[in-house]
Symmetry: C2
Subunit: 188 residues, 2 copies
Amino acid sequence: MTTTESTELRNGVDVPTLFATLDAVKANPELAKFQFRATNRWVSGTHNRGTIHGFYGAGQEMTHNQAMEFDADHPAVLVGADHGPTPAEYLLHALAACLTSGLANIAAARGVTLTEVESTVEGDIDLLGILGLSGEVRNGYEQIRVSFRIKGDDPEKLRQVVEQSRKRSAVFDVITNGVPVTIDVTAG
Amino acid sequence: MTTTESTELRNGVDVPTLFATLDAVKANPELAKFQFRATNRWVSGTHNRGTIHGFYGAGQEMTHNQAMEFDADHPAVLVGADHGPTPAEYLLHALAACLTSGLANIAAARGVTLTEVESTVEGDIDLLGILGLSGEVRNGYEQIRVSFRIKGDDPEKLRQVVEQSRKRSAVFDVITNGVPVTIDVTAG
């Protein structure tokens, strides 16, 4: 049993199930259509609370094990009460998490063992944009830098795994290429 | 005291401090240069944990009141252990939170009172992209829809507040227009 488990689980990834999932989607591409969701409720000032629970995927409505709540706020220096990270920091977290989840799967699929993966994401932003004090400064980040420190098998293989994760990352794609967003308002 | 407080605090926003902050930045635009950060550590499989704590802004290194940790994972249907939302869901949360924080500030600055703000964000994604099963399907969301339900003052004013928040949202800008991202790897 121990031998079987150590073969099937690499980096904590259930490799046979990963390949079986790929085969199932190849046979029925409709299974790949997902819709992710988040809801948000304003609390006070810049403090608001997001909830993530249900999603659609693999042909059915599904839920996470539990509803998860995430507070967002501005820090005191930006006239908030610091009840949580700023929304712009959650965006950086999403990017690091996506690249990291992806590389763990990719490494497992390639038979590459990981022992440690850490990353730091930095985003430079000039608030003259969102404060409405400049018509030339954009609202969002001017640039984002991700630094990975990764240990395990051969360094060149590890670098290739990170590169492949970049090439297949949903959040990296959204952040670098943009996505159309519509906003609908029911007021009153 | 009660009268003074009700005048100065609108929607929980300290309006005099908000305007004083705008004046301070107008006088010294360097104060507007911020750098936000997130770090991430891989746990196992697609499970990893992000930390948000320090940032640079207003001319100095700063920290949030406390370091905050956020687990990310894939759900079971995507061969994860569901220890947290997917990274792509954190991105949707960031968008709702940014629009909501912004509209609370903008409403306060305009003297518009809010009583309730809720939103839902939906992102459609075809996983054929990230699974590497199609060369034509993008990795990220194909489209994102935000729906606000907002109550308080005159509905037309509320709609204008949402529209102004969209125009000045950092996360909306990043997600709709994209940002250059560099990835640096130290391996071995």
